[in-house]
Each structure stands twice: as structure tokens, then as C-alpha cells.
């Protein structure tokens, strides 16, 4: 095994590269955004093209409370990561738990809304184009919330076992970017479904 090692003398070579966790998470977010864009385009394209009712105006109510829950969870997770960076695990744990509760509340809101739409308004995915596009777009977002909650809960479990320390702040930070992304997508979905779509 012979090899030629190359080391060029370079005075004052300053060498810094971006961190791979952040780069990879942003790359994942780009790929995910492409998926969401197509679902949003489909939603907008089929607005008002349903051949039968119910229409968005008849059945959709704006979920302001649950939206506030989800959006404020971005703040709590931010405080949580900051606490861990400073090494304050107890504060980290409290804010992290608050994030999970807020996320779960949002998910409950979606479930409740879907229950009402299905059993009271008779809107399913096969009723009309509104049902088709509404359930798939909101459902795709809800699926991402579920994945996020599973990840957050895993971190919570490790924290309760005492395995999360200050040195893990970087990894936790990368995960928190995903959660911010899930929140940001909701801003778009909310605008499209509940503001433009009604």
C-alpha cells in the first residue's frame, strides 16, 4: 500500500467549512419544499373546480387557536435549544416539553376538525376535488408534524434518562430546524387553505 501524501506548504491557510448537520438539514428542507409546492399548486389549481359541494366557505372554520399553538412552539423550541447551549438542562427540558404539548395540541386540533368535516359535513377525500386536495395537503403537513413529534419525543425520552447534555446542543439545534420548517409550512398551508381558499 503505497501512496503519495500531498501536503503543500501554505502559510496562514485559514480553513473553515460549513457544518454538515445544518447543510444536510437545509438540503432535506429543499427537497421537502418541492413536494409541498406541488400539493399547494394542486390545491390552488383545483380551487372552485369541484362539481359538487360542500365548498370551503360552507364547512371550513379558521383554526386560529391551534395555529397560535403551532407557531408559538417555534418560540419554545428556540428557547429550549438556547438553554441547552448554555448547559441549562432543566430549562431545556421544560421548554422542550412545552414544544411537544403545543405540537400535540395542534395535532388534536386537526383531528377534531377532520372528525367534524367527516361526520357532520360529510366531506371525505373522495367527495369532491376540495376534499381531495384539502385532506392531502393538510394531511401531508400533519404527517410531518407527527414525524416531528416522534423525533421530539425521542429526544425527550433521552433527556428523562439523563443522556442529553450541553455537548448535544448542536444535534438538537439541527432537529429544531426541522420543527421550524414544519411551522413555516403551516403558515403557507394556512394562507392557502383558510385565507385564499375561503
Amino acid at each position: 500500500m503505497s501512496a503519495t501524501p500531498i501536503t503543500m506548504r501554505q502559510p496562514e491557510l485559514k480553513w473553515g467549512l460549513p457544518s454538515r448537520g445544518h447543510v444536510a438539514m437545509f438540503a432535506l428542507i429543499i427537497a421537502e419544499s418541492a413536494i409541498f409546492v406541488i400539493f399547494v399548486v394542486a390545491y390552488l389549481f383545483y380551487l372552485g373546480k369541484s362539481l359538487t359541494g360542500p365548498t370551503p366557505k360552507q364547512v371550513l372554520e379558521v383554526p386560529i387557536f391551534y395555529t397560535i399553538c403551532l407557531l408559538s412552539s417555534s418560540l419554545t423550541i428556540h428557547f429550549s435549544v438556547q438553554a441547552l447551549r448554555r448547559g441549562n438542562v432543566a430549562t431545556f427540558k421544560a421548554w422542550w416539553f412545552a414544544t411537544i404539548v403545543l405540537g400535540a395540541a395542534f395535532l388534536y386540533g386537526t383531528a377534531h376538525e377532520w372528525y367534524r368535516l367527516i361526520y357532520h359535513d360529510g366531506l371525505t377525500i373522495s367527495t369532491n376535488l376540495f376534499g381531495t386536495t384539502y385532506y392531502s395537503l393538510v394531511g401531508l403537513h400533519g404527517f410531518h408534524v407527527i414525524v416531528g413529534l416522534i423525533c421530539l419525543s425521542a429526544v425527550m425520552a433521552f433527556t428523562l434518562l439523563g443522556d442529553v447534555q450541553q455537548k448535544h446542543a448542536y444535534r438538537i439545534d439541527v432537529l429544531s430546524i426541522y420543527w421550524h420548517f414544519v411551522d413555516a409550512v403551516w403558515v403557507v398551508v394556512f394562507t392557502v387553505v383558510y385565507i385564499i381558499g375561503r
Binding site: A3, I6, L13, R20, I35, I38, Y46, I125, L129
Partner: protein, 557 residues
């Protein structure tokens, strides 16, 4: 200068039981082994897809032939297209990227080795799922059947009503699963290039192969999402009664075309940009000159990346879009010819005045240049909407895109195989057999695809399983089929050459081509850790600097 190698507990590889060695391959997270797995997997499917193509060509050799039934013919062209795009060219490009990028940027592995293995096995599972449809598509009740909806699976042919059983579902799921694998690999390639470069390798000093694969990975991230979304919608339509593509409930068949081609056209560039990357590495080495116009080359690639996202509906001129839409897509499609033309001139200028060595990798690159140019010219012809209205869905289109994929991409790939074979195996291929394969392949390629344009011009539509005699198509189809068989023979010689040379070839040494990028500094095949000492570079050609300390590149860059 420090140590050349790291002492590892040496076990005689040959003496270990075969099961153990195979187990190592299955559980590996080493980028070189995963790269080779990708390549072998793709070569296997290349043979499968090639057999499917041969079946179609035998069926079309004369009018009213009945070698296969119309149903089987439909399955053959669907499986041929899907296999070649998703399970041959994409994995083989990912394989080369996996193998070469860490070596070229002076890293010890990819950024996420386990994600790398996961992505490979997802892609592999996707291919197996597609072919499992042959037995499983009818739910294992009887003889199954393969998908038969064409590789772009236009609605409403894919609706439950028109596609009973599960063949379309196998197609959908296979692409969905392998798509996730592609996204994983793209994230890995992008992150490795941005975050693992060795000291001194600024973005402007990376080998072009790394640059072009960076753009390719970005395109994968942008393009696979729409395909994934469309496949999810199709699943919802078929299983939950959604109406995305159901025209009877107000849905739109045309929007499937848009979603598919928003993926489909960037996909062409996902396949061809790595081919450009091979040519950009091979041409300078065999012309004994540095790459001409490196920054322009990078800029042209990035421009192609952006433009490729804006041209998708040129696949849909015959659908009947508004004249504004037609005009936009005509102009954007023609615009993409500009950066592509710049690349061709850059390669020519690299060869100009160089001391050209006509060995097999270089021969294939020169063939690539000619053939890709012609493919680009027929592409510009097709980009004019009125011309496309005349020839859309004819054999002219089939000839055009096979010119891109076989004449361009596959030729560059053959060049890459011959060029890096010594690095991957430590042995030299047989040059005589390589040249023989080259000439046979070029002959077969031109017999098939030059003459395929003509029945297209004479009005022969694509995807027909047979045709009437006396329309002037008969002899052309005969020539096309003969050419396909010649290509088949040439590929057998290629496989035989590689297999024979793998065991009996001459020892290659670490730098058989007197090349300039970092992969040639390690031994052939490289050790697990790639570099005992992480290299430091000052220019785009670190080995040139090392070999010519009196006149190093970094003085001029």
C-alpha cells in the same frame, strides 16, 4: 512528508469464508464499496433493460411480426424506460459520485456513511419491487403482469378503471421508494462536497467532477419532490378514491403531465450532468492540458441547472397549451442550448493544441462530443413547437432522446468505466478489446439511432407493436434492429473485458494515466481510509503541482 499508510490488522482477504466476505458487502458503509454496489446493481439492470429493448427491436424487425403480443410489447417499453432511467443511469451515476467524490476532495468517506448505505438499499429495493410485479401484480393469484402504462404513465390510463390489478401500483411504489433513496444520496453528495473538502480546496479549486455533481445533487433535491408528490396523488386516486387526475369529477389529466415533466425534464439533466463531469475529467488528462475555461464551465453548468427547471412543458406541445405558454417553453428550451454549446466549445478548446492520446476513454469522450452535439441539434429542432406538432410522439423523438442517452450519456459512461477501472480494481483493462468495443459500439449506435430518425420523419409513431408493410418503414426498421444487435455484441465484449481484466489484467499502479486529481495519489484500489494523511491543495491540479514543483499551477490560478 509523513506516513504513507495506516497499519490495519491485516487479514488475508482470500482466506476468509465467502459468507463473511459477502456479509461485509451487505453491511458496508464504506463509500467505495457502496459505489461499486451501485455500479454492479446498475450493470445488472442494464442487461435486463437491454434484453427488453432487444425484444422490442425483434418484434419490429419486419411488418406484421408476431414475436410478442401487443400486451407484452406495452410491458416491454414501460419496463425498458423505467428500468433504464431509474435503475440503470441514476444508480450508476450515484455509484461513480459515491466512489469518486470523497477521493477527489481529499476526504475519508461521505458526510453520512450510514445514510449512504440506507439510500443504496432503498434504491435497490425499489428495483426489486418493480420487477416483483412480474409475479405479484395480480396479487399472486396467477401469472402476474408488469406495468404497461408507459414510463410517464399518463392519466387516465393509470386510473383503476383502465389499469386493473396492481401493476401500476408496483410502478408507483418502486419509483416512490427509489426516489427517497435518490434524495438521501443527493443530500449526502451535496453535504460531502460542501463540508468535507480538504484544506486549501476552495470551491473554485474543486475538480469539475465535484462541481458538476454538486449541481446534479441540487437538481435531484428540486426534481424528485414533484415526482414523489405526483406518485402520492396517484396512490390516493387509486386507493382512496381521490380525484386529482379523474376528469369525470373535474380533475385534470393534463396536470399529471405537468407534474411528471416538472420532474422529467430536470431528470434528463440529472443524468447528463454527471456524464459532462466524466468528460471534463477525461478530456484534459488525455489532451495533456488543463481544462479550458474552468469558471465558465462551472457557470454554464449552474445555468443549465436553473434553465432545466423552466423547460418541462416542451414535452407537451402536442397537448394544446396556450400560445403564450408555447412561446415561453420554446424560448426557454432554445436558451438551454447556449450554456450547453459553451461546454462543447470548452471541451474542444481543451483538446485544441493538446497532445491527444487516443486511448479508449478518450475515444469514447470524442464520440460523446460528436453524438451529443447531434442530439442537441435535433433537440433544438424539436424545441420549435410547430416542428414538434409534426413529429411529436414519432420515432424521431425516440431517436432524439436515445441519441442523448446512448450516444451522449452511455458513451461518457463507457469512457468513465475504462478511465477509473484501474483505480477501482488495481488492474488495467485490455486496450485492444477496449478499442474493438469502441468501434463496434459506434457502428451499432449509428446504425440504430441515425436510421431511426427516418421512419419518424416518414410518420411512424412511437409505441406501436407492429406496422403495415409498404409504408416505407420496413428497411429502416430492419437496419435499426441489426444495429441494436451489434450494440449488444459490443456490450458483451465490454463486460467480458472488465471481468477478464479484473482477475488477469496487468497491475495498474496508483497513477496509470499521469493524471492530476487527488484520487490518483492513493493506491489502486484505495485503502479503506483513502488518505493516510489528509492532503492539502493549492490549485485545481494538485498532482501537477507535486510532479512539477518548478512550475506549479497555483502561480497562475
Amino acid at each position: 512528508m509523513s506516513t504513507d499508510s495506516i497499519a490495519l490488522p491485516m487479514v488475508d482477504e482470500e482466506s476468509r469464508p465467502l459468507v463473511d466476505r459477502l456479509h461485509d458487502w451487505v453491511t458496508t458503509v464504506d463509500h467505495k464499496r457502496l459505489g461499486i454496489l451501485y455500479i454492479l446493481y446498475a450493470l445488472f439492470f442494464l442487461v435486463v433493460g437491454g434484453i427488453e429493448a432487444t425484444v422490442m427491436r425483434i418484434q419490429l424487425i419486419r411488418p406484421h411480426n408476431d414475436f410478442v403480443s401487443p400486451q407484452v410489447f406495452n410491458r416491454m417499453f414501460t419496463m425498458h424506460g423505467t428500468t433504464m432511467i431509474f435503475f440503470v443511469v441514476m444508480p450508476v451515476m450515484f455509484g461513480f459520485a459515491n466512489y469518486l467524490i470523497p477521493l477527489m476532495i481529499g476526504a475519508r468517506d461521505m458526510a453520512f456513511p450510514r445514510l449512504n448505505a440506507f439510500s443504496f438499499w432503498l434504491s435497490a429495493f425499489g428495483g426489486i419491487l418493480l420487477y416483483f410485479s412480474l409475479v405479484g401484480a395480480n396479487g399472486l393469484y396467477g401469472a402476474g403482469n408488469a406495468p404497461d402504462v408507459g414510463w410517464f404513465a399518463y392519466a387516465p390510463l393509470t386510473a383503476q378503471t383502465f389499469s386493473r390489478g396492481h401493476s401500476t401500483d408496483f410502478w408507483t411504489l418502486a419509483l416512490l421508494v427509489s426516489g427517497f433513496g435518490s434524495i438521501g444520496t443527493a443530500i449526502n453528495i451535496l453535504t460531502s462536497i460542501l463540508c468535507l473538502r480538504c484544506p486549501g480546496m476552495k470551491l473554485g479549486k474543486m475538480p469539475l467532477l465535484a462541481w458538476l455533481n454538486l449541481v446534479m445533487a441540487g437538481l435531484v433535491l428540486l426534481a424528485i419532490g414533484p415526482l414523489t408528490a405526483a406518485q402520492i396523488m396517484l396512490c390516493l386516486d387509486r386507493y382512496l378514491g381521490a380525484h386529482f387526475f379523474d376528469t369525470q369529477a373535474g380533475g385534470s389529466a393534463v396536470i399529471w403531465m405537468h407534474f411528471f415533466w416538472i420532474f422529467g425534464h430536470p431528470e434528463v439533466y440529472i443524468l447528463v450532468i454527471p456524464a459532462f463531469a466524466f468528460v471534463s475529467e477525461i478530456v484534459p488528462v488525455f489532451s495533456r492540458k488543463a481544462m479550458f475555461g474552468y469558471p465558465i464551465m462551472v457557470a454554464a453548468t449552474v445555468a443549465i441547472g436553473f434553465l432545466s427547471m423552466t423547460v418541462w412543458a416542451h414535452h407537451m406541445f402536442t397537448v394544446g397549451m396556450s400560445s403564450n405558454a408555447n412561446t415561453f417553453f420554446v424560448l426557454s428550451t432554445m436558451a438551454i442550448g447556449v450554456p450547453t454549446g459553451i461546454k462543447i466549445f470548452n471541451w474542444l478548446a481543451t483538446m485544441w493544441g493538446g497532445k491527444i492520446h487516443f486511448q479508449t476513454p478518450m475515444l469514447f469522450c470524442i464520440a460523446f462530443l460528436f453524438q451529443f452535439l447531434i442530439a442537441g441539434l435535433t433537440g433544438i429542432m424539436m424545441s420549435a413547437a410547430p416542428f414538434d406538432w409534426q413529429l411529436g410522439n414519432s420515432y424521431f423523438v425516440v431517436a432524439h432522446f436515445h441519441y442523448v442517452i446512448v450516444g451522449g450519456i452511455l458513451c461518457a459512461l463507457f469512457g468513465a468505466f475504462y478511465y477509473w477501472f484501474p483505480k477501482m480494481t488495481g488492474r488495467m483493462y485490455n486496450e485492444t478489446l477496449g478499442k474493438l468495443q469502441f468501434w463496434l459500439f459506434v457502428l451499432g449506435f449509428h446504425l440504430t439511432f441515425d436510421f431511426m430518425h427516418i421512419p419518424g420523419l416518414l410518420g411512424m409513431p412511437r409505441r406501436i407493436y407492429t406496422y403495415e408493410p409498404g409504408r416505407g418503414w420496413d428497411n429502416w426498421n430492419l437496419i435499426v434492429t441489426v444495429g441494436a444487435l451489434v450494440q449488444g455484441v459490443s456490450i458483451l465484449i465490454f463486460v467480458g473485458n472488465l471481468l477478464w481484466s479484473r482477475f488477469k489484467g496487468k497491475t495498474a499502479g496508483s497513477d496509470p494515466w499521469d493524471a492530476w486529481t487527488l484520487e490518483w495519489t492513493t493506491s489502486s484500489p484505495p485503502p479503506v481510509y483513502n488518505f493516510a494523511t489528509i492532503p492539502t491543495v493549492r490549485s485545481r491540479r494538485p498532482l501537477w503541482d507535486l510532479k512539477h514543483p518548478e512550475d506549479p499551477d497555483w502561480k497562475y490560478e
